[in-house]
Assembly symmetry: C2
Homo-oligomer: 443 residues x 2
């Protein structure tokens, strides 16, 4: 009987392995898609897309062609050859092919040139052919960094004793309330798409004390801005036995330090390709909401229109102000007004108009909302009633308050927004593989 | 200005740290929820729930009580004390408390006793109070193992050069087709919840060659069985430049070996608590679909009712048969009939009635479906047309076939099913934190 015993080792060349392979002097195998094909008459350059970068291959009269005489962009190929130093090639070496086999040919020529700058392309045009435009090097680096941020979040929290959870996305009630919720027919019953894992992560604090989740959330925002998506990835954590809501900010700071270190160590090529300068998260300043609002009003001579929330422009200016004052790209804004925070937010006992909550601004944009939650049953029920909510609608959620919870709190980080500010993109659609917005459902 | 510089170190006792803390002889700090409180007259035992296990604390007349005179189940507490050897206590030590502070009291007594066996509870009763029943030790171990399987999948594939992706869950067309798809109003347009990341992971093979995703999928199954959920976690990967669909089975085998090793190394306490015997994935046998069907018909004297698919009972018997023959808990069943496989499945060139596909059965239950996909545009369009599908409905998906793809394939693993078979549960609702089924939307 034929048995399967594990993955076959694959020694084909990768970008990361070019220098070592060249040093060995041995013949190398290559496989990949032809990223850019350049015919030079006597010979041709094939810039081949490897899974982690590019390699320059040379095809000339010494190359034995298998399966096809012509080789053009987006042909799937494999071959063998030898590496030679070539300072103008990616990685400093080129691969002179002795054999070249075509595994598949495209049906039609690719609609864009991947050797040119993608910044020349409009967002509309890019998204319309997303499966192909993502093959561009800048796009690949963007989404490798997205992976890196997710890994940083998970690995750091795992090291801090957090357990990973998976909460349902089809729910019977929204955690955020309001109208920006998608409705769904669930076997004849009314259901919703989760706006956040809020209720579930709080429930799980009673189980594991420290939990996190990285998963999609859904917001039926009816306006189209450069910083909103209707579906995005939320990186959430929630922790019990906090002494103050500052414990949550401290945990986030530690996570950012760890994630930035991970990017520096394992994603250096992508950072370089995108020209990203990593921020410093060694020490993040904090400022009260009301103080920050006042500072910005004075410094920039602005009228305060909404005393309960920050306008995007105010967030930008707070970022600017604290960058100037402290050198930090990050700033924690604390003690948001109770009025604008959800029903589960804990109020500041010294002034109940404010909550023990915070946002983290990164280069002037909110990337995190967090805070301490109410853990006492009577307090939570009273706050619901004061907001005209019916506690009976939240019976299972309230079980944790009823049967016992530690003091706790947590946060949610918008992965795409964090990535957007990190790499200096101006539209969050650029930092999600397949964006969902008012007009976009496809691809 | 006050700066946040990172997470405060926390040296409170954990289950994993009990032996080392006892050896040091130093006083220890503890925090947790009272799991079980046992009043012994002169003194009381508090079995305290730590994030990774339990610890037995002793309260007597020498304990200074802070904040409350009485301490009962689900009180959130912290204290200090010293460890003493006590063979009957969890971990072999008990903590005699010198101080004990109550941080929060529940509003009402807990509806179940967490010191008793949870198997006495019906699934209905368990799910009705899920936020509390999950605090049981068996439940906690179950979901730590769920975490471990997810980590094993991700970490192994990362090591094999795969990139993690995040595909949209609100989609314009279902990958699986059929009626088991949830419908959604998307700003006045018809949308669906993704049944699988199939189209997107294929698109991303053109970008990163090897990709994976661990994320929720949604199936509007209108029947209620012990092995179906309407929302579950799918662990998907897809890889380019395969030489045969066996490469996919080989990768899965390597992943299983790695994940099982990880559980053994890092989740030993949970495996022990649940009495799990890990299967051996060193070598997994494979058998053709038609051969397996015939073998089972002969051996168990059964009539073949449906020649195109396996009944659950047949899967069970195939599992039994190959366990007996080879000792393996796993068996790859290959070459499923084209008729029952999706439109993107590649047919076997030697007999197009069959596909280059497989299921993996684990202890008699299908936990994986995978296979090679069609990579040529003309072949894919022809197969769609033959199935009365309109290729224009799949324009963006077909861009990859049109503009060039390598030979590729992949698979999806149902995380909850894998966990169910691993720990010997009989209903998949037991291996999801908050199950969604025909009648369950809450909690």
């Amino acid at each position: 009987m034929q048995m399967i015993t594990g993955a076959k080792p694959n020694f084909d060349i990768t970008s990361a392995g070019i220098a070592a392979a060249a040093a060995s002097g041995l013949p190398v195998n290559v496989h990949g898609m032809v990223h850019v094909h350049r015919d030079m008459g006597e010979f041709a350059f094939l810039i081949v897309r490897l899974r982690d970068g590019l390699i320059q291959c040379v095809v000339d009269q010494c190359t034995e062609l298998i399966g096809s005489e012509d080789v053009r962009d987006e042909y799937a190929i494999r071959g063998t050859g030898k590496l030679y130093a070539e300072p103008r090639a990616p990685g400093g070496f080129e691969l002179r092919l002795t054999t070249l086999e075509v595994l598949n040919k495209p049906h039609s020529p690719r609609p864009i040139h991947l050797g040119k700058k993608i910044s020349h392309m409009s967002l509309e045009a890019n998204l319309a052919i997303r499966p192909i435009s993502l093959r561009h090097q800048r796009q690949r680096s963007t989404f490798r960094l997205q992976e890196g941020l997710g890994r940083g979040f998970r690995d750091y929290l795992h090291g801090q004793g957090f357990t990973e959870i998976r909460s349902p996305k089809i729910v019977s009630a929204g955690a955020e309330g309001g109208s920006n919720i998608f409705r769904l027919d669930y076997f004849g019953r009314k259901a919703f798409l989760a706006q956040s894992p809020q209720f579930y992560k709080q429930m799980m604090v009673g189980v594991f004390e420290r939990v996190f989740e990285v998963a999609p959330v859904f917001r039926a925002e009816k306006h189209s801005t450069a910083r909103h998506l209707n579906e995005y990835t939320s990186m959430d954590f929630e922790m019990g036995f906090i002494e103050s809501f500052e414990d949550i900010m401290a945990m986030e700071t530690g996570m950012l330090q760890y994630a930035l270190e991970l990017l520096k160590r394992e994603y250096a090529a992508d950072l370089a390709l995108l020209g990203v300068e990593l921020p410093d998260a060694t020490a993040i300043p904090q400022v009260r909401f009301d103080v920050a609002k006042q500072m910005v009003a004075e410094k920039f001579n602005r009228k305060i229109k909404d005393p309960y929330d920050l306008e995007p422009e105010e967030e930008r200016l707070i970022g600017e102000l604290f960058k100037e004052k402290t050198g930090s790209d990050f700033i924690f804004v604390t003690h948001y007004p109770s009025k604008k925070r959800p029903f589960y937010a804990m109020e500041d006992p010294t002034d109940t108009n404010f909550t023990l909550s915070f946002d983290l601004l990164f280069r002037g944009l909110e990337i995190t909302t967090g805070g301490q939650r109410i853990h006492e049953y009577d307090a939570q029920v009273a706050k619901m009633v004061a907001r005209d909510m019916n506690p009976e609608d939240f019976e299972t959620y309230l079980m944790i308050h009823k049967y016992g919870m530690p003091p706790h709190g947590g946060l949610g980080i918008g992965l795409e927004r964090l990535l957007m500010m990190l790499i200096g993109e101006t539209n969050v659609r650029n930092t999600v593989l397949f964006p969902r917005d008012l007009s976009r459902l496809d691809p």
